[in-house]
Symmetry: C2
């Protein structure tokens, strides 16, 4: 059965490097992907055009870009206009933490999954780097799976939902090497949180982490 | 402290009877409410004008109506154009179940709560009536509280979030009597899932349940 019929899965697809690598991995593992991106008032909205381009290049047939005015309710520099930190990763909540963003994204992904008959939500969360995002941690994902199992008809019928985070234990360098092996077009992805005139700033946490990852992996970015 | 400073709380505010009663109760218990409604592609969008009117009448200072295109992703007769059942409540998933709707609503409410410095999300879920909505049950709410505790900075700092569902154990008749006591303007609320020309249909599960509740309570609707 598994061999004949591709297993459908939702992927949270930001247009970033990690979600592109995750999508490539999911495809290599026989998943038929439905990609979900959010136009949530993020200051790096440019990532959405990359997400569209990547989805096309990766032959993901169904790609939804959902408008979600998270900027109307959530706090955090990505959505509320407050400044993005550019002086290196610090302890505690990063300026770019958007209140419960992945809680919202995952819940919408579960809603879509139930409607589509899928039971997996893949995402490019990379636990090794940022301790700063509590909504990227494994114990949070487990709790979300449990909630979705209790709060959906599919779950009540014993067909719950899995959060699949294959990069969570890898670290950036190993992730990027995996991406290289899978043929991901790094140049098509977007990472920066604080772009100016469509150029990455090179100084925000996300830019720093990307640069460090490529350096450690011994790979060229782009 | 409690006496001097009102405790802030989020309320999911549909414009329906149950959320209006819940709001009145929360206010009577000293909560300063931030009301959150969703324009989610529901066929009974008329409820939003009632929500606005009610919020004003109830002197809720902050009322957000968030556009959320749930109809682009979720399945269910309230959002996808399939017919609403009008022949009485049945076993199993009702036609009006929208995939993981309360999972999505609650996650957004937690995001707002964290941004607002609130730690409670109130809602008018009425467990007694509909077994049809798994995302209205107490075990689901507990799981959501746990997820929000793990997935937010506030939660990690030991200041988690509570889902408050005061009508969950009451049944419709008792809820309506409570509403009467609290001075809720029943006539301003909206219940019907399948209105025609701004009139309730009288036949959908929600209309039937409302009529039955008023009958049992010995109260007049409107």
């Amino acid at each position: 059965m598994e061999k004949l019929l591709k297993k459908k899965a939702i992927i949270l697809f930001s247009g970033g490097l990690d979600s592109a690598i995750t999508a490539a991995l999911a495809k290599s593992r026989g998943r038929e992907l439905v990609a979900l991106s959010f136009d949530y008032g993020q200051r790096h909205r440019i990532e959405l055009s990359r997400a569209r381009r990547l989805a096309k290049a990766m032959k993901i047939k169904r790609h939804l870009v959902l408008r979600l005015p998270l900027n109307k309710i959530a706090a955090g520099a990505l959505v509320d206009g407050s400044p993005v930190n550019k002086s290196g990763v610090k302890k505690g909540a990063p300026s770019t933490y958007v209140s419960y963003r992945n809680g919202v994204f995952l819940s919408l992904a579960f809603s879509l999954a139930e409607a589509e008959g899928a039971h997996e939500v893949w995402g490019g969360w990379c636990g090794a780097d940022f301790g700063g995002y509590p909504d990227c941690r494994a114990d949070f994902f487990k709790a979300m799976e449990r909630a979705a199992g209790l709060g959906t008809w599919e779950g009540r019928r014993g067909r719950g939902f899995k959060v699949v985070a294959p990069l969570a234990k890898l670290g950036k360098a190993a992730s990027f090497r995996l991406g290289k092996k899978l043929g991901v077009d790094f140049s098509a992805t977007w990472t920066c949180y604080a772009p100016k005139a469509s150029k990455p700033c090179g100084l925000c946490d996300a830019c720093r982490s990307r640069a460090k990852g490529f350096e450690e992996a011994g790979l060229k970015d782009g």
